[in-house]
């Protein structure tokens, strides 16, 4: 019994920490909780309301994100020049070069457009790694419980405590600055919170009637995890994935600033670090150092907003039926 309670407490604390992150737009004020059943019975008003608000809230994020995604996928459409083509260096914005040129005469706008792909790739690739690890650890830990859970979660807690950025910096310095090692390092060091959320959600779902009856009916553990638990984790996973992407992008930019990035891959972070190290900042060339910074912020924000939105949505996933109609 005590064991159970410990789980519950842990998961509530963890949950609230993580869900606290959520920015939910005015979900139905929850004194409706009591007649939630009543409302659900009739029509899922709260969901529709919520959906609408969510959409409104996310529309901006989704729009921005799509924009950046298109930039990343089809830079040719937007970049006026090749990012390696050289013109006069240090030129101010003009009609020929909307954002001017940098220290070796590359068109900054083109560089910016091509940078989207690399920045977002770092974010998504490392988020994929961390999400995958987090999912596996959380799922197994939550589903099988017992000693495995103790060990895995103990390990997770230990990793959680280690300060990340210094470790990433040390590792970044140790491994040679290549974009792949960066992705690997970022991915390998940010799965713990995902694992914890997945675990607590798994614990919760595991006790749901449909999982219990599935076990009762003789479905295999793999089938249950894949077919009953995973789809319902998706809603916790997606926001986590998005937030992991966002934080990986920030970390990449920060490491680039410290000179630990991969210079041959011109991400926004690298652009920024060049803008600072090659006089863009001091020459007051705001058209050089502001755009990559703003792009990082906006892109991270769009991803985070979508993540927050999904996180809110997750709350209501019990009633997902309606929005699927």
């Amino acid at each position: 019994m005590m064991q159970e309670e410990a789980y519950v407490r842990e998961s509530t604390i963890q949950e609230s920490t993580i869900q606290g992150n959520t920015i939910r737009k005015n979900i139905i004020q929850e004194n409706a909780r009591q007649w939630k059943g009543f409302l659900a019975h009739n029509i899922n008003l709260d969901i529709r309301r919520y959906e609408r608000n969510l959409k409104r809230f996310n529309r901006g994020g989704l729009f921005l994100f799509t924009f950046f995604l298109i930039l990343a996928l089809l830079p040719v459409l937007f970049a006026p020049y090749s990012p390696t083509e050289r013109f006069m260096p240090y030129e101010a914005p003009s009609t020929a070069h909307l954002l001017g040129t940098n220290d070796i005469g590359n068109d900054i706008l083109s560089e910016l457009v091509y940078g989207a792909r690399i920045s977002m790739m770092v974010g998504f690739a490392s988020a994929c790694i961390s999400t995958l690890i987090g999912l596996m650890i959380g799922l197994f830990s939550g589903y099988f419980r017992g000693t495995l859970d103790e060990l895995l979660m103990g390990f997770t807690d230990v990793v959680l405590i280690i300060p990340k950025i210094p470790l990433i910096i040390i590792l970044g310095a140790f491994l040679r600055p290549s974009i792949w090692t960066l992705i690997l390092v970022l991915g390998l060091l940010s799965w713990e919170s995902i694992a914890r959320v997945v675990r607590s959600k798994t614990l919760q779902i595991r006790e749901a009637g449909y999982v219990k009856s599935a076990r009762c009916m003789g479905f295999s553990s793999v089938h249950i995890m894949a077919s009953d638990i995973f789809p319902n984790l998706f809603h916790v996973l997606l926001p986590k994935f998005m937030l992991a992407t966002a934080s990986a992008m920030i970390s990449e930019a920060s490491l680039s600033f410290l000179g630990l990035g991969d210079i041959s891959m011109k991400s926004w972070g690298i652009m920024l670090s060049f803008a600072f190290s090659r006089g863009g900042f001091i020459r007051d060339m705001w058209w050089w150092y502001l755009p990559p910074g703003i792009c990082i912020t906006l892109c991270v924000m769009s991803i985070a907003l979508i993540g927050f939105g999904f996180e809110g949505k997750e709350k209501e996933n019990g009633k997902r039926g309606v929005d699927a109609e």
Partner: protein, 345 residues
């Protein structure tokens, strides 16, 4: 006996797109009203309670009975004005000569907890987990400033003794020990009693109990019954009992109102209702009780968003006639009983 609370034509509806309208409302007031009515029809508005009229007399126990989702809790929250902002409440709720629905929030706050109190169905959640029982029991005293013009210390000791008294009243022999407890340390039954003590500490004129027996097992329910009986004996409080548990209601209530699909279908004295139910729904409900052999009513309750035309019960009624399907029956009163059925005298 005087009428304490009178509800007339209460309509409560919930709407889907409230907040968005609200923001736009401010700019274009007149236009919006038109739009709103239009929208109401388009986006399925749920009328949780329609045309509900009921009155509670002083010291009386009135029970509101019905199945899950029939809108009985909405009535309780409407009286307390605790409904979420997106609900639309029409009608009048008269209490002590004032229309509660017309009061400002500040004035309403003064009534809450002092004149009208409520007990929620889930006591462990209704108590704040991070404050001690004593603290939470004393809170109504603090809010409603019972002892004006006295020293702080004195106030405190007085509050303490009051809290102790209240706890004793609900059956705790050593109240001072329990005052330091937290809700999470206590069982649901104990929390239920704490909640009752907190809600009755200022001797409200009206106590609303919202599904107090839900989720309790047999022993606890009888404990609770004793609690309420004691309360009725010791104080002047009128009780609005909202429950789906017919046995529980039968033992406590003076009068019973039965709700179905957002409407009252029958009001009667407890004894006459249980002995000779008139409305077919009431009859069906009583028949599905264990002691009558679990005879079920066929079919399902209709969704409130699209109640059937005519009598709302007609799809499940075994004595229905043609007009039941077309006309909506009115609540007819006779001999202190009221029934919403064409077929009943």
């Amino acid at each position: 006996m005087n009428i304490l609370l009178e509800i007339k034509d209460l309509n409560v509806s919930f709407q889907g797109n409230e907040t968005e309208n609200k923001n736009e409302n401010k700019s274009e007031n007149k236009k919006e009203i038109k739009n709103e009515t239009k929208k109401e029809n388009e986006t399925g508005t749920v009328t949780a309670v329609s045309c509900l009229s009921i009155s509670i007399r002083e010291k009386e126990t009135l029970a509101l009975v019905g199945e899950t989702g029939c809108g009985k809790s909405v009535v309780a929250h409407a009286i307390m004005r605790l409904l979420p902002p997106e609900s639309r409440v029409r009608g009048t709720i008269e209490f002590g000569g004032k229309n509660l629905l017309g009061l400002r929030e500040k004035e309403m706050a003064k009534l809450r907890g002092k004149e009208i109190s409520i007990i929620f169905q889930n006591p462990s959640l209704a108590l704040n987990p991070v404050y001690s029982i004593g603290n939470q029991l004393a809170e109504p005293l603090r809010i409603h400033g019972q002892e004006k013009g006295k020293g702080k210390e004195k106030k405190k000791t007085e509050a303490l003794s009051k809290v102790a008294g209240a706890l004793k009243r609900v059956g705790f022999s050593n109240p001072h020990e329990y005052m330091g407890y937290y809700p999470s340390w206590c069982s649901g039954g104990m929390n239920q009693r704490f909640l009752i003590a907190a809600s009755t500490i200022l001797d409200p004129v009206l106590l609303i109990a919202d599904e107090p027996s839900k989720g309790l097992d047999r022993d606890r329910v009888s404990e609770l019954e004793n609690e309420f009986k004691g309360l009725k004996e010791k104080s002047e409080t009128a009780l609005l009992l909202i429950s789906h548990d017919l046995g529980f209601v039968r033992r406590l209530a003076d009068r019973v109102a039965v709700m179905y699909a957002g409407e009252i279908v029958e009001i009667a004295d407890t004894s006459s209702l249980f002995e000779s139910p008139r409305h077919p729904y009431t009859r069906g409900l009583l028949n599905s009780l264990p002691e009558r052999g679990f005879v079920p009513i066929p079919g399902l309750s209709p969704p409130l968003s699209s109640p059937p035309a005519g009598c709302r019960f007609h799809p499940r009624c075994n004595v229905k006639e043609k007009r039941c399907m077309q006309e909506h029956p009115k609540l007819k009163e006779s001999n202190g009983r009221a029934v919403r059925c064409f077929l009943c005298p």
